[in-house]
Symmetry: C2
Subunit: 546 residues, 2 copies
């Protein structure tokens, strides 16, 4: 017997309509590529998203077509999110930090029909446009009078001219809620990039889950700054979460340095910000150097890679800012877990609370997770036993765009679980902690050593700016860990001092065999350390004594 409730599909246009109707004067503030600050409201966003939808129709694109962006966080990018998906097209966010060859590969694989890009990326588009035959329309996200006369890109349009003539009346189609809404490719550190194709349903459910008090806790009382780029898993879904709550949104645009972020946070009274650890490192550096304080910020969401405990501690103890440690992937929309305490943990001593906060946290309702051993057998939730992390849920990927077969692993009940490629522990309270990427774990004498644990100790040393641990071949132990370290400017520390710093902090056999001081750790397009490149750079390195 079926229930008798209204049959209303979950669509991203429902988010936009809601924000425009119930939070019409809610502010959206953007630092533009031009450097100035732009302000408008959810009502304006809705009006212009409809103009964009009409422009997409007028340009001859069809439902299902992929429309791409190469853009910073800003209001025009948000219009693309809602106008493209709302009209039944697929919003494809391209990562400008990828190598141009990879970008071309992705545009061709996705068969993008339109590419909209910020002026910053004009040289990039000039270099690649001729290799993207599926793209019929190139749109520069600028005013009509800012369009260069001699771009060399045939038919290049200015975004403002493109949408200006269009009506702001448009009836969002009542799509099947499983219709594709967004496309995002993994950065592809191994093999070709792979696309995760989000649906309207998965996007709306993810927005509900992400806004919960135990997740990002989004409300109409927030002024939210998504520092995490909108080309990086939809800025963790924050533009959708913003529309769901009607909160104020503050987009930092291309200015990601500590000073710019800080000043915008203060002037727009930001209460909540989200980004990767490297961004917060720069922000904390700026605050420390200039003896500044946050006057409205209450919490930051940190994800993308494990947050060093020292950073969590600094935010809380020095600046009174709560750190929400989160975990997710392109394939998980991305929110999987967020670290918020439970009722029974609120009265624990601060040190025990910090210990919990260093974990990636608990599953959001909608996501289930488990850790399994080499033969797929469930591992105990004791906070100690490692296992491969698998997840499932309505915003977790089933299979990759245009790829045969599904990577899911079936359980005894026939339910598919997505293998994350992460190694993790889960404690009795359901708090998950990533111990490593499967491929980065160091296997020494039959035991596993977490490269992240080794890095966290080094990061807590005052002279260390960045640290990366890799395993080096060893005839007796198979592998032994060494640590590559970037020193802070003007800071001094020796190899022996750093090795000594490990004593008492981790087991003796886990202490790295050596320290290699380097100028920089290679970073990937999404700001993560690229250990494969680091290993390549260290290919002639020999462990001491060998």
């Amino acid at each position: 017997m079926l229930g008798q409730m209204q049959n209303q599909p979950l669509l991203t246009s429902m988010l936009l309509d809601f924000a425009a109707r119930h939070h019409g004067d809610g502010e959206i503030v953007s630092r533009r590529v031009e450097g100035d600050i732009h302000r408008y409201t959810y009502a304006d966003l809705a009006r212009r998203s409809k103009q964009l939808a009409n422009a997409l129709e007028a340009s001859g694109t069809q439902q299902g077509d992929r429309i791409a962006s190469i853009a910073w966080n800003g209001y025009r990018h948000m219009e693309l999110y809602f106008g493209v998906a709302g009209s039944g097209r697929v919003m494809h966010t391209l990562n400008p930090r990828l190598h141009p060859t990879q970008l071309v590969w992705i545009v061709n694989h996705a068969e993008d029909k339109v590419v909209c890009f910020d002026a910053t990326f004009l040289p990039l588009v000039q270099a690649v446009h001729a290799k993207c035959p599926t793209v019929k329309t190139w749109v520069l996200l600028c005013d009509a009078d800012k369009l260069p006369a001699d771009s060399g890109i045939p038919g290049l349009l200015s975004y403002e001219a493109w949408i200006a003539g269009q009506s702001d009346q448009y009836a969002w189609p009542q799509l099947d809620e499983n219709t594709a809404a967004g496309l995002c490719y993994t950065s592809g550190t191994t093999g070709d990039p792979k696309g995760a194709l989000y649906s309207h349903r998965s996007t709306v459910l993810h927005a509900y889950g992400g806004a919960l008090p135990d997740a990002l806790n989004l409300s109409a009382r927030d002024s939210m700054m998504p520092v995490v780029p909108m080309f990086h898993v939809n800025a963790w879904g924050l533009p959708y979460g913003a529309a769901l709550t009607g909160c104020k949104v503050v987009f930092p645009g291309p200015a990601m340095d500590g000073k710019s972020i800080y000043e915008l946070m203060e002037s727009e009274q930001v209460t909540m910000a989200a980004g990767v650890p490297t961004i917060w490192q720069m922000l904390l550096g700026h605050l420390g150097a200039n003896k500044l304080r946050f006057s409205t910020l209450t919490r930051t969401v940190i994800g993308g890679s494990a947050c060093p405990p020292a950073m969590i501690d600094t935010f809380r103890e020095q600046y009174g800012v709560d750190v929400l440690h989160a975990w997710g992937m392109t394939e998980t929309s991305p929110l999987g877990t967020v670290c918020t305490l439970k009722n029974k943990q609120l009265h624990l001593p601060a040190a025990e609370q910090l210990h919990i906060r260093t974990k990636q946290g608990r599953a959001i309702f909608g996501v289930d997770m488990k850790i399994v051993g080499d033969n797929g057998e469930d591992q105990p939730w004791d906070g100690k036993t490692y296992g491969d992390l698998l997840v499932r849920g309505p915003w977790i990927m089933d299979h990759y765009f245009k790829m045969e077969g599904s990577p899911l692993v079936k359980d005894a009940q026939g339910r598919g679980w997505f293998p994350t490629g992460d190694v993790a522990t889960i404690d009795a309270d359901g708090f998950m902690q990533i111990t490593d990427r499967s491929k980065d774990v160091i296997k020494s004498g039959g035991e596993w050593i977490s490269s992240i644990d080794i890095e966290n100790v080094a990061m807590a040393h005052p002279a260390v700016a960045m640290a990366a641990c890799v395993g080096m071949p060893h005839p007796k132990w198979d592998e032994r860990p060494i640590i590559a370290v970037v020193k802070k400017p003007d800071a001094q520390v020796t190899r022996d001092e750093l090795i000594a710093f490990y004593e008492g902090k981790i087991a003796k056999w886990q202490i790295p065999d050596d320290v290699v001081f380097v100028e920089a750790i290679p970073l990937g397009a999404t700001g993560k350390m690229q250990k494969s490149k680091l290993r390549e750079q260290l290919k002639d390195y020999k462990l001491p004594g060998l």
Copy 2:
């Protein structure tokens, strides 16, 4: 083109599984009919819900069968919620405050197969069981040794004996998410009761929406007390919200007096409670009389009928407890709006904030609303213009159980809106305020007078315990308002004093023509004032001067 995310139906069993896996030791505390306090965990809840599902199979019930309860708020009732719906059956909560004739009518209309009831209601069941031919199994929610030998109800089972022999292993079926999960009848003040048939999808989406920070703000840090009965629109969805967050749950059982509620709140460190104004009146009475304070309570959700501003003020100013004013109906699952402030309102003076808090609040994402005039035309959102309130969304009813046709009103785009029967204003910020029930509005000289406004003024008078405003026939003005008043014990106030109390508080022409002192205002099964009965009692009343 379809997205490629996991195809996972939204089922209530997903809520239970989540709570058991991720909050296994989360506490559920119940005051039992027996008077003692019972404690167990979400893991226990899941285990026993599975035993119940097996008992339902063993009793020969089928998927789609309605399984009814007549019960207080407690752990066994929560097991029914999850075991019945999770196994594909329909949880039908019966309201024991209904007249037995009406109860029998509902059981027969629903064709209930099993009825589970608390010992409190044994006399009621003894009186009606013979008139309920569809019911094959009567189950008393008690231990085996508490079952009366001579109940007169053929085959009466004790719940504990019924489930005791059953396995706690049970694979929840992967149902279509539109499968019916719950059934709840309106109290039927006019005509026969009508059933709202909730689906798994609507129940899970409602749980997401209700837990949001802008709605009830539910998290694993809460200790939640649902005072609103589980037979009253599923206790506003709180048992599902509890499982979604893994918060501690504290069930008051049958002891709804101020002293019992207060003591349980204190001993179980309740942070959040939800109920109708009459309950809070009793609780505040107990606190005031005994000079008590709340030590952990931070907020109450008040709904079911409009909350007098004086009560909101008392909670906030005297006790430091935030009042969340909420609005909903059986047909809306029930949460439609909750009154939480927006970012821009946080710095308003306290008086302006209180003015906003007296409204029923903003739509939760998932719900849309509008007000319309006599011809269905949209009314402006100016906070002043009255209109009939209509709502739509995935947890709003489409049509009533077993009734032909849908009450929905179609708009120009063909979308159906549920007519609530309430008259409301909506202000520019989207805050809705119920001004009256359509049938209670007083029409005087072509103008509408809100009976609720008149009642709120009277309720603010220190001598008034309860007040009900009704319209009386008048040859010149069509109707004129009078107010029926119940005085507080030992308090004194005269007709003229009360009429004078209105001066300066509302427009002169809205001031009631008369005051009638009564012993009691008739209340319906859900604690709401029954103005139709009051009008009947006053049928011989004549306005002064007529």
